[in-house]
């Protein structure tokens, strides 16, 4: 499947067009006194604007991607003004995902070469302009910190920008040797910190437009249900209600403030037309149907040796079943979106992870051509994959169109919790075989779960293989003589979405827990047992050794604390985590998570540290407490009282070692998430002898 047809045919995207893009071709500059391309503008006054074409949701693309340009341009990074890019897949496509989209820890990986070339191309033109101006050889010129110099002459980039804009770029500029880096790998202050601390950073919820009303939307408690009939007479009587409109997903009340809109919305009596058979959608039937589905042959997504029957003839065999619960994204900024459909134009403002999809959704909901649709991305108050979805964009546009007014749709926390696209439930069946020396020589892992991709990007599921379900299994780091990883797709009638680190969370919990079970069966230390299978994986060995050494693995402990370990490869990074746990009866307390990570080149080391810490804590807190459950098709959790998020008092100590290598940078936004759960489970087993095979720990 080529990416273009993927995007065009995707149901999440709607109708949009991707065309090819060469980052080094200059846009025709509107102002001949400037050097301008789609990412970068150098003004005559020597100020520089860079566009950030990936959504900033905490992961720091706002700084790290700009660093790539600043490095090769060689311009003081703190003086660069960063703006969020408009929607234009022609320029801002993410080649790794095939659209203008932020996800999958791809932003920096995809930008690594591309944006350095953008910076280097601009520098090449500035040097060429200087050479032309001074009639010297470009080789004798050097460009640094926004100034080109040559034999006693100097000019700022701004002074050269106009002339530079008339020169054709080579398309193949020389990139710096890493030894020349000023920013990459060095301490650079995060560029969005001041605005976020002063409270001037604008999130989706802060969008203000003239005459904009707030909308609150009543949706069916069972996702997908439609309005059969409704009585809004009481709602209309509420003082301050502007209007009430029906859209495909429900009934929206518009008012000057959120409180009034919500209060009136709660007074509307609605009969719902509920889809499918919601009585069948409850946790016992969901689990049962997955187990039944799991007997089918699935897609084989990883294999080695005798993969048909990996444990055949082994000396000792073990099987186990693991399961993972549904989880909600629960971004702290609830789902919201502002839209204005008027005078043949549609504007959308919001916390959007998928600009290209947003365009398609707005085209469909407004009925206007793509050329009249304008998507404006704000900062995101958390994303984790929730804001890749387009439901809230379609809704806001539909409400504006139906009411004829500019609106800001704001979901309540309860709306957000009950109408998410959940991390799917998963069932994992594992079997392993040891040889007579206790070495793991056969492993099969089979995941049965709902496919997010089958809903969101159906053409990407080929022969029953959803590539996003393979994460954490197909990329197994262990070299096992006979091995099979297999997936079965099963749709139990729920709505699922990509959730930070996606299937890594699911597969890694099952596999890394089971590896510990096998180590115990083999009578071996879990670290030694793993290292035996990592001969071909120096980076995995390195982080495993570093994390366990730092955590004091194997040292005698006097405090009734127990350690558990897990390791994996995730989005190009290698990571190992040791959890230090004590037990109070059946209740585990996590004291410390010690982590070592090899991110390849650590572009901004403090960002690596912050993201790993954030990921570890999300993985830890979700594993401890969080599950979404369905009853008669409706989600039972509603707010942070019954879906509790991590608080300061529950936060364990975190120790992170970054072992940067010369390899290409990996994605950092998600890699921290998957390992806390298996490391904690392994520590609990070490403390109690009891193996926990389903989450959350505090069920």
């Amino acid at each position: 499947m080529d990416r273009r047809s993927f995007i065009k045919s995707s149901s999440l995207v709607g109708s949009t067009l991707v065309i090819g893009f060469s980052t080094v071709n200059q846009e025709v500059s509107a102002n001949p006194s400037e050097l301008s391309n789609p990412w970068l503008t150098i003004h005559a006054d020597n100020t520089v604007n860079v566009l950030s074409a990936r959504s900033e949701m905490g992961q720091d693309v706002y700084t790290t991607m700009v660093m790539l340009i600043a490095e090769e341009l060689d311009y003081p990074i703190q003086k660069i003004k960063v703006d969020i890019a408009p929607t234009d897949p022609k320029f801002y496509i993410n080649e790794l995902l095939g659209g203008q989209i932020t996800g999958g820890s791809t932003s920096v990986r995809e930008a690594w070469k591309k944006l350095r070339v953008v910076g280097a191309s601009a520098k090449e033109l500035l040097v060429a302009a200087a050479a032309q101006k001074w009639n010297v050889d470009p080789k004798d010129c050097s460009a640094s910190n926004g100034v080109v110099t040559c034999k006693g002459k100097s000019a700022t980039y701004g002074e050269l920008a106009g002339l530079a804009s008339t020169i054709k770029p080579s398309g193949n500029p020389k990139l710096k040797d890493p030894s020349q880096y000023k920013y990459i790998g060095k301490p650079v202050a995060r560029l969005d910190t001041p605005a976020k601390v002063r409270g001037t950073a604008k999130y989706g919820i802060d969008v203000r437009q003239p005459n904009m009303l707030v909308a609150s939307l009543a949706q069916c408690p069972v996702i997908g249900g439609k309005v059969k009939s409704f009585d809004d007479s009481k709602a209309r009587a509420v003082k301050g209600v502007d209007s009430i409109v029906q859209i495909p997903d429900g009934i929206a009340v518009l008012a000057k403030d959120f409180y009034t809109a919500k209060k009136a919305r709660d007074l509307i009596q609605i009969q719902w037309d509920i889809p499918n058979n919601p009585a069948m959608v409850n946790m016992s039937s969901i689990e049962e149907s997955h187990r039944k589905a799991s007997t089918a042959k699935g897609a084989v997504v990883g294999k080695q040796g005798n993969f048909e029957d990996p444990i055949q003839g082994t000396a000792k065999q073990l099987t186990a079943e693991y399961k993972m619960p549904y989880a909600a994204h629960a971004t702290l900024e609830p789902v919201n979106c502002a839209a204005s459909v008027a005078n043949g134009e549609c504007h959308v403002w919001g916390p959007i992870q998928f600009q290209q999809g947003a365009t398609g959704a707005a085209v469909a909901a407004s009925g206007l051509p793509e050329s009249q649709v304008h998507i404006h991305t704000t900062f995101l108050g958390g994303g984790y994959g929730r804001k890749l979805e387009l439901d809230f964009i379609s809704q806001a546009v539909a409400i504006s169109k139906a009411s004829g007014k500019p609106v800001h749709l704001i979901w309540t926390r309860e709306d957000d919790m009950t109408h998410d696209f959940y991390r799917p439930f998963s069932l994992h069946q594992l079997s392993g075989g040891l040889d007579s020396s206790g070495k793991l020589v056969g492993l099969s892992s089979k995941m049965t779960s709902q496919s997010v991709t089958a809903r969101a990007f159906p053409p990407f599921v080929v022969n029953g293989n959803d590539p996003f379900m393979n994460e954490g299994s197909a990329n197994l780091t262990y070299d096992i003589k006979n091995w099979r990883a297999e997936n079965v797709i099963h749709d139990p009638g729920t709505r699922v979405g990509y959730w930070r680190a996606v299937s890594n969370n699911l597969n890694t919990f099952a596999i890394e827990s089971f590896i510990d079970e096998l180590a115990k069966e083999a009578g071996k230390d879990p670290v030694k047992f793993r290292l035996e299978m990592l001969d071909k994986q120096p980076r995995a060995q390195k982080v495993l050794k570093a994390a366990t050494e730092k955590a004091g693995w194997g040292l005698k402990r006097s405090n009734n604390h127990f350690l558990g370990v897990a390791q994996t490869e995730c989005y190009g990074a290698y990571i190992a985590v040791v959890a230090e746990v004590s037990m109070n009866g059946d209740i585990p307390k996590v004291h410390k998570l010690t982590c070592a990570v090899d991110p390849g080149i650590a572009i901004r080391p403090d960002q690596v540290k912050a993201q790993i810490e954030s990921g570890l804590l999300l993985g830890y807190s979700t594993a401890m407490k969080n599950k979404i459950t369905f009853n008669n098709g409706a989600v039972e959790q509603s707010n942070f009282n019954n879906y509790p998020l991590l608080r300061m008092s529950e936060t364990p100590q975190i120790d992170i070692t970054i072992l940067a290598s010369g390899d290409a940078p990996s994605g950092m936004g998600e890699v921290g998430v998957p390992l806390a759960a298996p490391a904690i489970a392994n520590a609990i087993a070490s403390a109690t002898g009891k193996r926990i095979r389903s989450l959350p720990f505090l069920a």
């Binding site: 969005d192 999130y203 009034t260 403090d606």
Partner: protein
């Protein structure tokens, strides 16, 4: 009704049950108090009422009549500056959505306790959720700010 917000008298003619959060955000266009849960569970909406940290999403406007309401925008410089500088120095925010509320809780703490212990920091901050998990940096920033709060 008349309300005192950041030292200014303002009029609000809406429903007196309207939570303070929506008076501030939707009527006065003060956007640093954020909406997170609507139930006093996450602290994103934290403002000061008579100098005490309160959850504006679950405090009706009528409860604020005759009292001083302070948001991050109106926090006195002698407390705002050290806190914001510490937040920048420790590079606390990731997505940043909760941080205005976090700083307001920290400001209430440091106004009454210039040298809080770890436990006192935890107690004061435990009502503020950070989904990005920046708690260790928040703690460090409070300790840094404490050194320069006059």
């Amino acid at each position: 009704m008349k309300l005192n917000v950041n030292g200014k008298q303002v009029d609000f003619d809406g429903d007196e049950d309207t939570p303070l959060l929506w008076v501030l955000r939707d009527h006065l266009n003060i956007t640093t108090p954020k909406f997170g849960c609507g139930a006093g569970l996450c602290g994103a909406c934290t403002v000061h009422l008579q100098g005490q940290a309160i959850r504006s999403c679950s405090t009706p406007a009528s409860a604020a009549i005759g009292k001083k309401i302070t948001t991050l925008e109106g926090l006195p410089a002698n407390i705002a500056k050290p806190i914001q500088e510490a937040w920048i120095a420790e590079e606390v925010p990731q997505c940043g959505y909760c941080q205005c509320g976090q700083m307001m809780s920290a400001a209430a703490l440091l106004s009454s306790n210039k040298n809080p212990s770890d436990d006192q920091i935890t107690n004061a901050m435990d009502g503020n959720i950070c989904r990005c998990g920046t708690y260790s940096r928040i703690r460090k920033a409070i300790k840094r700010a404490a050194k320069s709060v006059a």
